[in-house]
């Protein structure tokens, strides 16, 4: 039963299994284990980012495609919910319509970008997606009558979702189910073809797989899951704006999470997202202590300044790319 749920892809390491169970239990019981608004916020963000990073792992880790447009799809999901709820009112119909339209738009865009640019080199795709993503950011801030511009939109949720706990469990359960679906996707025959494209594109083409079709399909699937994650995030925040979903900073965060957690493992997304979001919220406190302790030393105190936590994750990121391509999960499985 459990193996079926995990699509036969067991953690294959006792420590990893324990950590995953701990994260799941922690998230499931978060309102009781870690009371307080801030920690519930952290827990919800972890759930959303696990899904978002896992969908990015499908692209980067399993298919070997670097896309910088993932935040665009994340944003489309968020704006779909946000615009529908703000303009049509706080009903389930509006929510459904917003999500459906966002999913359709994402699929269409991912298909278009894929067909236009997935035939060529990885670098070209990365550059094109970076340009497209920045265009999306411009659109969101320029079409202010529609998107609220830089200020974004705040909106109300349907009656049934008035309590924070209800929203939290909705977000968590949808994210968990979608994560399991992603695990199913990468362990299906389709997922094997993606892996073969990553390992040797020429050879998979020679065996008879139309690699462009498979890569485009992977691009679309990843986009759809990112859109879903964006919709969940907007639901949780009851707000949508460029900084929460579209900004390039978030794209860099996703990259850090997927590489540090472990590319091509799916479980890496869980570890990476948890570690990163917790570090984002709590590492700064620890660094503040260290920095205050070194207040007299000029450069060192700056290096440990709470705002410089990304520096250390960046160093970890580079070390991961060189020495631990499968990230933390790869280390734990050794």
């Amino acid at each position: 039963m459990l193996m079926r749920l995990l699509s036969g892809d067991a953690p294959r390491s006792r420590v990893l299994a324990l950590v995953l169970v701990a994260i799941l239990v922690g998230l499931a019981l978060a309102p009781w284990l870690f009371p307080g608004t801030r920690s519930l916020n952290v827990a919800a963000k972890v759930a959303v980012f696990v899904l978002l990073v896992a969908s990015y792992d499908l692209l980067l880790g399993y298919t070997g495609i670097v896309s910088f447009a993932h935040t665009m799809f994340f944003g489309i999901g968020g704006y779909g919910v946000g615009i529908a709820m703000a303009k049509l009112g706080a009903g389930w119909g509006a929510l459904g319509l917003g999500v459906a339209l966002a999913l359709a738009l994402s699929a269409l865009l991912a298909l278009g970008i894929g067909l236009l640019s997935l035939r060529v080199k990885a670098i070209f795709f990365a550059m094109i997606t970076l340009a497209v993503a920045s265009f999306a950011q411009i659109l969101a801030s320029q079409l202010s009558a529609f998107t609220g511009g830089e200020d974004g939109l705040t909106f109300r949720l349907p009656e049934a979702l008035q309590s924070r706990l209800a929203v939290y469990y909705l977000v968590l359960s949808v994210a968990l189910v979608l994560f399991l679906v992603l695990l199913r996707v990468v362990n299906s025959p389709f997922g094997r073809v993606l892996l073969s494209i990553r390992e040797n594109e020429f050879r998979s083409e020679a065996i008879g797989y139309r690699t462009v079709h498979y890569r485009t399909a992977a691009n679309c699937i990843a986009a759809l899951f990112a859109t879903a994650a964006g919709a969940l995030y907007a639901l949780w925040l009851r707000y949508i704006g460029p900084d929460t979903t579209l900004s390039f900073t978030i794209m860099i965060d996703i990259l850090l999470m997927v590489v540090i957690g472990g590319m091509g493992t799916m479980y890496g997304a869980v570890l990476g997202a948890t570690l990163f979001v917790v570090a984002q919220n709590y590492l700064q406190d620890a660094m503040k202590l260290a920095s205050d302790g070194l207040a007299g030393v000029p450069l060192l105190a700056n290096l440990l300044h709470p705002d410089r936590w990304l520096l250390w994750l960046g160093v970890l990121f580079i070390l991961c790319v060189y020495y631990f391509p499968a990230g933390i999960v790869g280390r734990l499985r050794k």
Partner: protein
């Protein structure tokens, strides 16, 4: 090989097409000079990126850091020499600007050397890891800039003799923009001469065509790689000084913000082509300024539209290079 002049002709064509739309000739002249100046600065920043890609098949996503660090280095030098900057004499201004530019190019070049040596060398030929590692370098060095220079935006003022405008008929032309056009032309001419009229340039062009062949003929292509990478980074530093001065301030994200435009220029020009990069940069500069005047809401997106149009016409850019 027959020279392909059609893309080059696009630049004056775009400028002429904009004349009836803009309406008044003086504003058209002002806009055209502004567009050319912007294009030249973009070219200076992008030229290293396209050369490095052409020669080594490396796309450096951290190129923006070289731009930023150049601007910061110049801001530091210029702050120390503030009196010379405000003096109304050109000689005094130059005595402040030249050391600033040298410092910017030296620091950016040294950083480029470090990047090539430490970060990129282990991942030659592996695009996925190249993108990831250079992104990592971008994150780390952007943070290090914060560590060294602090998080505040640093003002970068234009020297006294270069601010203000000259009048040409009714059109007001900013002095600084005219200077940018001159510097850009000089850099392009120098680069063109180096690539097409010297032995070194011959080797670089041969390396772009087929690196293994050059190596098998007994030339150390690795040294060429390092040299081009450092030179390209130094040019990015120079571009950073000019861009920072143009904007009037320096912040840690400026390189990354500009990088998107550089990528668009590279894609338009054809990855790896220097002439394509030059033409692409001018086209982007001109269209940005014209649309900024005609339809301000469209201005930021006009680059993307331009890129899509060019790719529909020539899917591999204006001047496709063998490898790309």
């Amino acid at each position: 090989m027959k020279a392909d002049w059609i893309p080059v002709a696009l630049v004056p064509l775009v400028a002429l097409a904009a004349l009836p739309l803009v309406g008044s000739t003086p504003s058209w002249v002002t806009l055209t000079v502004a567009g050319l100046a912007m294009g030249m600065m973009i070219f200076i920043m992008a030229s290293g990126l396209t050369l490095v890609f052409g020669l080594m098949d490396v796309m450096n996503f951290a190129h923006g850091v070289f731009i930023t660090i150049g601007a910061y280095a110049a801001a530091t030098v210029l702050r120390a020499m503030a009196p010379a900057m405000q003096a109304p004499s050109l000689a005094a201004n130059l005595s402040a600007i030249l050391p600033a530019i040298l410092a910017a190019m030296a620091l950016a070049g040294a950083l480029g050397w470090f990047f090539e040596r430490v970060l990129i060398r282990p991942v030659y030929g592996d695009h996925l890891r190249q993108i990831l590692v250079t992104m990592g370098g971008l994150i780390v060095f952007e943070q290090l800039i914060h560590v060294v220079w602090g998080p505040e935006i640093i003002p970068l003022e234009r020297p006294a003799t270069l601010s203000g405008s000259v009048l040409l008929g009714d059109a007001a032309l900013e002095r600084y923009r005219l200077l940018a056009v001159l510097v850009g032309l000089a850099v392009f001419a120098a680069m063109w001469l180096l690539l097409n009229r010297t032995r070194l340039g011959l080797l670089i062009r041969a390396g772009v065509e087929n690196a293994e062949m050059v190596e098998s003929l007994g030339y150390r292509i690795r040294r060429l790689f390092v040299g081009v990478f450092v030179a390209g980074s130094a040019l990015a530093g120079l571009g950073g000084v000019m861009w920072g001065t143009y904007q009037g301030s320096v912040n840690a994200q400026m390189g990354m913000q500009v990088l998107v435009v550089l990528f668009i220029v590279l894609i338009i020009g054809g990855l790896g082509s220097v002439v394509g990069c030059f033409v692409g940069a001018l086209l982007v500069g001109l269209t940005t300024n014209y649309t900024g005047f005609l339809a301000p809401k469209l201005a930021l997106g006009s680059n993307i539209l331009l890129m899509v149009l060019v790719l529909l016409w020539r899917p591999r850019g204006l001047y496709p290079v063998g490898k790309a």
